[in-house]
Amino acid sequence: MQPERHDIELSVNGTTCRRTVESRILLSDFLRHDLGLAGTHVGCEHGACGACTILFDGAPIRSCLMLAVQANGHELSTVEGLAGNDGELHPIQQAMHDHHGLQCGYCTPGILMTMTAYLKQNPQPSEHEVREALSGNLCRCTGYQNVVDAMLAAAQTLRAAP
């Protein structure tokens, strides 16, 4: 079977991209291999681990469970878009750094994208709510405690921000 290709145009971290993709290319692989945005990590490839979480039209989704061709005409945000242009970390990234919320860091991009969206929707979460929000992101290093601490601190910083 000849690979079937489609022209797609999408916005990634505010930049418009046009590419031609094979139908079967997963969105996660498209981001990593075609756009070179390797910050989106690929773990399980069946929607269990959450490492590949990105924002699709503002909502967190598993990029391994979507096809690149489905992103045609949509707006995506990946971990590369979090820090400012001057390299200043996003408050949620700074909090993960300050609270030692990562060890190997493989799950971190997915956690950052999940929680960026969550803290917009719920700026003042309880610890229990943070743990619920993190339930779709597996981390095998930290035991989650420092991630939870980081998210509660990030929520506070974001609330205080103008």
Partner: protein, 292 residues
């Protein structure tokens, strides 16, 4: 861990999607949320040669109400939009109870009601809720439309009554009657995992607070959603009392034949189903008492 090659077609209308399905039959699959289909394709457990993307078909999404109070959910309605619909959650407390148990927030942002029901995973919450609420499943093909009661829609493990040229387009629930309360509960190994057992209970009570109708449906304990309403006979005409509910739970345990899995033996699943049945019936009774 990558899908086998396939042809991708974004459907421009429901008619277009159905015409494509009629043309390609079981070689083609509809792509809705993709939260079960894409992982199956990644593992090459599913190898459709044509993928018909229906995500652009807005007319398939949303909740509507008829004048009689019947609630209709379009097949492309995503879990997350139901989670944010407070009126819907008030009208359908089983969904309010069950939605947070369905996978994780990222999955609920994409996954659809119609995709879930068409997939017919026996551990999934929604088939049990559809059976419990006596939903009618509206199915369309290029040449016509038909309705199937949920009790006949689910035919076995990952198997439904949907034919090769058909699509589930909507599910409809009959309007609630009288003083009715409902509750869904489940036990899973971890948050978002598949349920080891889950119970949906819908209790209707009369003016004296006695049970006039009880609907019971379970997930995770068979090859499809199990309608255990027949277990409720001893509760009809009775007030909410511990001993009677225990009898019903024991009946439920006798009716099911759980398969067991890596997390739970059949005996443990049966035990859980009994405990959940007791708790869900009691909670539904209490909610019925508070219903207007």
């Amino acid at each position: 861990m990558k899908p086998a090659p396939f042809r991708y077609i974004a459907a421009s209308s429901v008619d277009h999607a159905l015409a494509l399905k009629a043309e390609h039959g079981d070689e083609a699959r509809f792509l809705a949320g993709g939260q079960s289909l894409i992982p199956a394709m990644n593992f090459r457990l599913a190898r459709p040669s044509v993928l018909i993307d229906i995500n652009g078909l807005g007319e398939l999404a949303g909740v509507e109400r008829s004048e009689s109070g019947e609630i209709r959910i379009g097949a492309l309605t995503r879990y997350h939009s139901l989670e944010r619909d407070s009126r819907f959650l008030t009208d359908c407390p089983l969904f309010a109870d069950a939605l947070p148990h369905i996978a994780h927030p990222q999955i609920r942002n994409r996954g659809t009601i119609g995709g879930n029901l068409s997939h017919a995973d026996p551990a999934s919450e929604l088939p049990a809720i559809a059976v419990g609420m006596q939903a009618r499943m509206r199915i369309r093909s290029a040449i016509g439309e038909r309705e199937v009661p949920a009790s006949e829609f689910f035919q076995g493990l990952l198997t439904t009554d949907i034919q090769n040229d058909e699509m589930l387009v909507e599910i409809a629930f009959p309007p609630p009657t009288g003083r009715t309360g409902a509750c869904f509960m489940e036990v899973a190994r971890r948050r978002g995992d598949f349920a080891l057992a889950g119970v949906a209970a819908i209790v209707t009570i009369d003016a004296e607070g006695r049970c006039s109708q009880l609907r019971l449906a379970l997930c995770g304990v068979g090859d499809r959603a199990v309608d255990a309403s027949a277990a409720a006979a001893s509760l009809i005409g009775q007030p909410c009392a511990g001993e009677v509910i225990e009898t019903v739970a024991a009946e439920v345990q006798g009716m099911i034949d759980p398969p067991g899995n890596v997390h739970a033996s059949p005996d443990y699943q049966r035990h859980i189903a009994g405990v959940l049945a007791q708790r869900a019936i009691s909670a539904a009774f209490s909610r019925a008492g508070h219903a207007a």
